[in-house]
Amino acid sequence: MEIENEIKKIFLGVFANLNDENFDWNAKQEDYSNWDSFAHLELMTDIEAKFNIKISPEDALSIRTALDLSKLVQSRI
């Protein structure tokens, strides 16, 4: 639960238009108007720093939803 809260917090930080009401764990990259390569890089670096893990380029590219990222983090710690 704590991991999920932290991941959600990072998403709300990266995407300024997200809030508690419209945040959706299953929303895909293409559902966001602003999930571009800059946002993706920021997400990955924020997650790496927060959880002290290293995300490989291949893993980074497999992330399509907030839920994907949550599963990846949970499998690493």
Binding site: E30, S33, S37, H40, P57, R64
Partner: protein, 483 residues
Amino acid sequence: MTTIIDYLERYKRDSPKKIFIQTESQSLTFEDTYNKVSKICTILNQFPEKSIISIMFDNSTEFVLSYLGIIKSGRIAHIIPPSISKKNFLKQIESCNPEIILTLNKFINEFKYVKNEVNVIDFYEFQKQNSSHKENQVSDIASLIYTSGTTSSPKGVPIKHSNIIFTTQNIVNVLGYNNLDIDVIPLSLSHSFGLGCLHTSLCVGSTIILHRNTMNILDILNSIKENNATTFAAVPATLTSLVNNFPEKFVEKCNGLRLIVTNSTKVPKDTIHKILHLLPNTKFATYYGLTEASRSTFMIFSENDNKEESIGKSAPDVEIKIEKEKSESKKGEIWIRGKNVIENYWNSEFAEKFVEGWLKTGDLGFLDEDGFLYLTGRKDHIINVGGEKVNPEEIENIVKMLDSIEDVIAMGIEHPLFGQVVKLLVKKVDNKEIKSSEIIAHCKQNLERFKVPMEVEFVSDFPRTEHGKVIRFMLQEKNYGNS
């Protein structure tokens, strides 16, 4: 007057059942495309001739159909990238005053606040409106795209049909596009690079495999292989990421490509060497251009040894000269003249940028003895983030809205993937506290993503002239940019 609609009519007649555009969810033949474009054209007849119609879509068939529909109707397509900030959106709308903004429901929600001022409508709702047939006078101008200006106002770039036809013919002739090509395009159609690729495919009657963006690089690689693609257009950051992280997959999926083309952001030397080594039978090319002067040079790396640092030779019938401040100097500002160059900016603003048909680009560079052009920097302080031009003053004005900030400078610092990213040097108001995360959060609220600083450094003051003006070049020399 020849327009790209003439190309569409030709292939609707000669190859009606051939696929023109394929996306993840949809494919359209030339005949389908023509019929849908004609429908949109007739609905647009409710608006005055030669008027402006804005479109805001990500890469999709809706983008292509709306864009071509507007052009077929003789009106002007104002192209708004969906990543635009609210502030710039309002500035653009105020500058060009469109009749309507065509978009999708998912974008309408983000721009609710302007709905009362301009008619923003969903593409599918629009298609239900009444249509009428009539012959329209055709505007000389096909499209209007705004770019970062050297002042805080964006510059409107009106692109004529004649500019498009000239540039497209040059691309086809230099890079050898033909109707057997299958072109994978993950570039935004809202920018000159992606839009030029669309024009090229339409000109030769090839098939476009259109991706929404470059985010899912591995999907794009699979798409290249599965669709037997022959050409692939991508920004340098995508190519660098591919050859550094997935060299084996890159070879496996891309060895059938006859051409890879990238654009004017300097391509890292290492990336060029890796691509030439990994795909020795593939032509690898780049070009230099601005929205105002698209494809002004072409560089084919695979055919020119020891010129990796160059951005190529001038395109056919395009002139390039270096305007030097001192005659003995090798470097100077790059000026461009040719039929690819616009005549003026929207509303005739920034007239000082044109001299006798020459466009003063603001880019600095030099020509070598063989006529190859090299970029060395900018005359102004524009930052180039992955090919997106960023005016530091725009970022600074946003940051200065915060009470705790006394002064701020935005500058470009080197980045391995994007070439440059934005860094802020911030002087706080005495006795006030603010965290870098708060500044960045404020920037995210008010700026496009690529303009948001990657780094914030707090400083006690900046080097200044005796009149108190900050001396920007001294900041670069002080190595703030390399921290």
